[in-house]
Every structure is written in structure tokens, then in C-alpha cells.
């Protein structure tokens, strides 16, 4: 059974002209690391938050979001609370915003399992100390306050907190964006070790393609609320099939890329107040044809590359060099 199974998830928000998530399909297997990449506003966070049943006010969802086989979209409040303290947990971008500065780390870690009565206070403390150790922090932190910790340390506390309920699914939404590059490596190394040790499925939300390539088994690329391409990280970065994936790659300043001007993508993603016919990327795509503007392309695999579907009428099938 998959840790996460999103099927045809469609989400409408009040006052918009088209669904903000438009038929998202995505899976995370137990012990697998999956990256969801895309630019600001593409719907990454909405997708990952939906796995916890966290929907914006007024949102109307259709489709299925199965965590460990159970549909989150049909759960009542009690079930959802149980889900969030147990099978699924989330690590956010800014750890400082997610803690109460006036409460000790120990209380923060044990609060949810104590409130739901899943563990006794003593068991909760023991588990918290064990997890602090797993994230490389000492038991003395239990008595410290958030203000006494660096950003990197606090993010490790957040990861420990997320693991308190033994989740099958860990959602990490830009968990290292607020950190320095070297602490980023430390947090990633940690997530990876824990995933291996506890068999947790990890959905990693990021706009950093390099990071996605570095850490994940599989990658989903999202544009304007749709998955436009997915596949094994290496294949996708070596030979992107969707023009948007290719354009993102070539507009990223890299240490091993060419110097000089970047191949920037002109324009901006479509506004939510604007209805879309055809491919959402057409206005910015150099390969766009009339067909693209009229008919939305479905996600289809390439002959001989079954694992790398792309939603494009004219996918790039050449070698990466001539993209």
C-alpha cells in the first residue's frame, strides 16, 4: 500500500475562474523520497497540505487523497486529528513560525500525543528524548526554549516532533529554505537517515531543482495546478520531456552550466482569475502550436520511456543537448 495516493485531485477556490489544482495524480511509496517541484503559486503546498486534510476555507475538492489507504477527503474532524498526530506529519519552511516561543521544547514535542491520549506523559517524554537523539540533539534540549536554538537546531526539533506519532508519510514543505547551505545538507542527511530507519514515505516540496535532483527517487513537476511531467530524478534532469521542465532547468544558475546570460523564460504563469483552454504553458512556450492553445494535453508516457510521462502535445524526445 502506498504511503500517499493522490487521485485526480481537483480543488476549486472561491472567486477563481479555474481549479487551482486540476486533476493531480501522485503517489509516494513507503520509504520513498518524492519531490514535488514547481514555481510559486503552482499548487505544491496546496497538494501537500491536502494530504493532511488541510484545505483553504471555501475550497471544494473532488478526487481522492489516500494516506495509508484511507481517504482524507471524507474524514470527519476526529479522524483528521488522529491522522495528523499519527500517520501523517508535516515539517514546514519556517520553524520559528511553527512553535510557541514561550513553551519548552519538551512540551512542544510531547503535546500532541499527550492531548490525543496515544501515550502516557512518561512514554511521551521517553519517545521525545529518543527522537531528539535520532536527530542529533541531546536530552537537555527538552528544557530549553525555542529562542535558545539556532534555525538549524530548531528545524531538527520540528522533524523530531513530526516523527512522534510514527508517521507513514512525512510532508516536508521547503524545510530547508530558511537555512544556510551547510545546515541544509545536515537536515537533508537527517531526513534521509530517518526515512530509511523508519520506512517513512517522504514528499518533499521545493522550488529548487538541484535539491530535488539530489535527494529524491522520483520527481513531479507542477505548473498552474497540473502535473506536467514526472519520472525518476536522474532521467528527468538528464532528459526532460516537457518544455517547461527543460526551461526551468536552463534558467537555473548552476555551478556546472554555461556562464553568461541565462536562458530565461519570458512572461509569467497564468493568473487564477483567468480561464484556461489548452496547455497552461502555451503563452510562454517556444514550441506552442494551435493545437496547444485549443486542447489541454494529457499526461502520456513516451514510447520506450514508460516511467516518464509528460503532458505535452510536442514533447522533447531528443538528447538533452539539443533541448
Amino acid at each position: 500500500m502506498n504511503a500517499l495516493d493522490v487521485r485526480e485531485l481537483r480543488l476549486r477556490l472561491p472567486g477563481t475562474a479555474r481549479p487551482v489544482l486540476d486533476g493531480v495524480d501522485l503517489t509516494v511509496a513507503p520509504g520513498e523520497t518524492v519531490a514535488l517541484v514547481g514555481e510559486s503559486g503552482s499548487g505544491k503546498s496546496l497538494t501537500s497540505r491536502a494530504a493532511l486534510g488541510l484545505l483553504p476555507p471555501g475550497a471544494v475538492p473532488t478526487g481522492e487523497v489516500l494516506v495509508d489507504g484511507r481517504d482524507v477527503l471524507t474524514m470527519d474532524a476526529a479522524r483528521l486529528r488522529e491522522l495528523r498526530t499519527g500517520r501523517a506529519a508535516m515539517v514546514f519552511q519556517d520553524p520559528r513560525a511553527a512553535v510557541n516561543p514561550l513553551r519548552r521544547i519538551g512540551d512542544f514535542l510531547t503535546e500532541s500525543v499527550r492531548l490525543t491520549g496515544t501515550m502516557s506523559a512518561a512514554d511521551a517524554d521517553r519517545r521525545a528524548v529518543e527522537l531528539l537523539d535520532a536527530v542529533g540533539l541531546g536530552p537537555e534540549l527538552m528544557r530549553r526554549y525555542p529562542g535558545q536554538l539556532s534555525g538549524g537546531m530548531l528545524q531538527r526539533v520540528m522533524i523530531a516532533a513530526a516523527l512522534m506519532g510514527d508517521p507513514v508519510l512525512l510532508l516536508a514543505d521547503e524545510p530547508t529554505t530558511a537555512l544556510d547551505v551547510t545546515s541544509q545538507a545536515e537536515v537533508i542527511a537527517l531526513l534521509d537517515r530517518l526515512r530509511e530507519r523508519f520506512g517513512t514515505g517522504l514528499l518533499f516540496v521545493t522550488h529548487d531543482l538541484g535539491l530535488a535532483a539530489a535527494i529524491s527517487d522520483r520527481v513531479y513537476v507542477m505548473y498552474a495546478g497540473r502535473i506536467v511531467e514526472s519520472g525518476p530524478a536522474e532521467a528527468l534532469f538528464e532528459g526532460p520531456r516537457h518544455p517547461y521542465t527543460a526551461a526551468l532547468l536552463s534558467s537555473t544558475p548552476r555551478l556546472d552550466g554555461p556562464t553568461g546570460r541565462l536562458a530565461a523564460i519570458d512572461g509569467q504563469p497564468p493568473d487564477l482569475r483567468q480561464e484556461l483552454t489548452g496547455c497552461a504553458f502555451a503563452a510562454r512556450c517556444r514550441y506552442a502550436t494551435d493545437l496547444c492553445r485549443e486542447e489541454a494535453p494529457a499526461l502520456r508516457p513516451a514510447p520506450g520511456r514508460p516511467g516518464q510521462p509528460a503532458a505535452c502535445h510536442h514533447p522533447l524526445e531528443g538528447s538533452p543537448a539539443d533541448v
Binding site: 514555481e39 547551505v181 545538507a185 545536515e186 542527511a189 535539491l211 535532483a213 534558467s251 523564460i265
Partner: protein, 275 residues
């Protein structure tokens, strides 16, 4: 640190010359004997982690922070002190302009883009007609007339950063200090802004002091780079040389920390603790 010693034979046309800068906050030496030179029309990157002293250095250069010791020369003239009267003070203020990470915080929420530019121009060049110059600035940063009439909140992050750049360019500075100015932007917008900055430098000869934690960005937009750690410069040189053949262990750590396929975060974490 010997690498940080003032260099000799600097042509007096340098846009910016910083020598022996020091600044202590309590017990922390935020900036410790920092020296570098930005040639006219050049682009110099400062890299390092948070707390390494990058931003304090930038703030001293801009005049938002004072130094305990050291000297900042802009086009060969001392930056601090000695200005006589309002006109000269304004002229000094003009020479170095800063663009921040979050342009939203530096823009007046009630003032349209065009009005903000007009206000800046009026302050620095009173009496002139600014309509043509405003048009030119908007063109230069790729903003149309629709954006010109908009309020900051009606603009995207990339558009707001263009406004901040236009406003900085309005006063014809010798040096533009960019502090993580593209860090908050999406890659596609970041690429647009980086290309724009390259175009502007080519056309105007303004020198850039580019503060960033992103080595890919440094490689893309700077000629020279200094690496800071704990307030000190640990390595400096032409960007290509420093990135291709780093001499200091900390520079190597920074380079290895950049995620890429085959990346080994465990090794980086170990190297970080060892350093």
C-alpha cells in the same frame, strides 16, 4: 589575515575601495579587517553563511551602519563625513544604492511605481522634467505602463524587484549593492532579473556588490568574489578561479554543499563539524 591586507596598485578609478573594515556588536566581531576593491563597472560577490558578516559589510558600505575602524572610498572619495551642505550630502547618498531581498518592505504601499520614481528624481534632481527619464527607467527594467500605475501590492515579486532596481538606478549611482536581491524570486523570474542586471551593467557601467549565499548566482553574475566566514575574508579572487580551484577548506565546504545529483549530505555534515 594576510589575504585581507589592502591591495596596492589599485587604479584610482575603482568604484569602491574598502580597507580594514571592522565592526563589533557586543562580543561578536561581525566584520573583522575586511578589505576589497570593486573596479569601476565591475561585479564583486560576497558569499558566506548567515552571520558571516556579509550584510553588516554591505550596510557599512551603504552608510546604514557605522564601522569601528576602516575606510570606504567611493570613486576615490571617502564615504563618511566631510560632506558640506545638503547638496553634497545627497550627492554622496546617491553614489551607493542598495536593493534588498524583499522589495516589498522598501516600497511605500500607497505610492504607485511611477510616483515613487518621480519622488526620488525630484529629491535628487530638483527642477528638471522627469517624464522622459521615468519612461527610460521603466523601459530599462522591463516594466510597462500598466505596471507604472500599479501599487506595490498589485505587482508580482519579480516586478517589485524591478521597481526597486529602477529606483536605485534613477539616481545614477556608481555602485549598486544587492543584498540577496534575487533570493526570494522563482527561478524563472530570477533568471529574468539576473539577465536584466547584466544588461544594465553593460549599458551603464555601474559596479555591483552582489551579496548572496547562492554560488550558482555568484558564478553567473560576478567577476570576482570574496568568501567570508566569522566576519573575516577567508578567500578572494576571480570568481572562476575561486569556484574551480578553491583554496580554503570553508570555500570547498560551501561548494560541496550545493545540492546536485550524487550529492552526499552526510559527508558535508561531517566536513562541517570537522571545520
Amino acid at each position: 589575515m594576510s589575504e585581507a591586507a589592502p591591495r596596492t596598485a589599485v587604479p584610482d578609478t575603482a568604484a569602491l575601495e574598502v580597507t580594514g573594515l571592522c565592526r563589533t556588536f557586543g562580543a561578536v566581531r561581525a566584520v573583522d579587517e575586511v578589505s576589497f576593491t570593486l573596479p569601476a563597472g565591475g561585479s564583486l560577490g560576497i558569499v558566506g553563511e548567515s552571520g558571516s558578516g556579509k550584510t553588516t559589510t554591505a550596510r557599512i558600505v551603504v552608510g546604514l551602519e557605522r564601522a569601528d575602524a576602516g575606510r570606504v572610498l567611493v570613486k576615490g572619495r571617502a564615504r563618511a563625513g566631510g560632506a558640506r551642505g545638503r547638496a553634497e550630502r545627497l550627492a554622496r547618498a546617491r553614489e551607493v544604492q542598495m536593493v534588498f531581498q524583499d522589495p516589498y518592505l522598501s516600497l511605500d504601499p500607497r505610492t504607485s511605481v511611477e510616483a515613487a520614481l518621480r519622488e526620488t528624481l525630484r529629491l535628487h534632481f530638483p527642477g528638471a522634467d522627469h517624464q522622459a527619464r521615468i519612461k527610460e527607467l521603466l523601459d530599462q527594467v522591463g516594466l510597462g505602463t500598466r505596471a507604472a500605475e500599479a501599487l506595490p501590492r498589485q505587482l508580482s515579486g519579480g516586478q517589485r524587484q524591478r521597481v526597486a532596481i529602477a529606483r536605485a538606478l534613477a539616481v545614477q549611482p556608481a555602485v549598486l549593492v544587492l543584498d540577496e536581491a534575487v533570493a526570494a524570486l522563482d527561478v524563472s523570474v530570477q533568471a529574468q532579473v539576473l539577465n536584466l542586471l547584466a544588461d544594465i551593467r553593460e549599458r551603464t557601467g555601474i559596479g555591483y556588490l552582489f551579496i548572496t549565499h547562492d554560488l550558482g548566482v555568484v558564478r553567473c553574475v560576478t567577476d570576482e568574489v570574496v568568501v567570508m566566514r566569522h566576519g573575516r575574508i577567508v578567500e578572494a579572487g576571480p570568481t572562476a578561479t575561486v569556484l574551480d580551484d578553491p583554496q580554503h577548506a570553508y570555500t570547498r565546504l560551501l561548494l560541496e554543499s550545493v545540492p546536485r545529483p550524487g550529492w552526499d549530505p552526510d559527508r558535508i555534515a561531517a566536513a562541517r563539524r570537522a571545520l
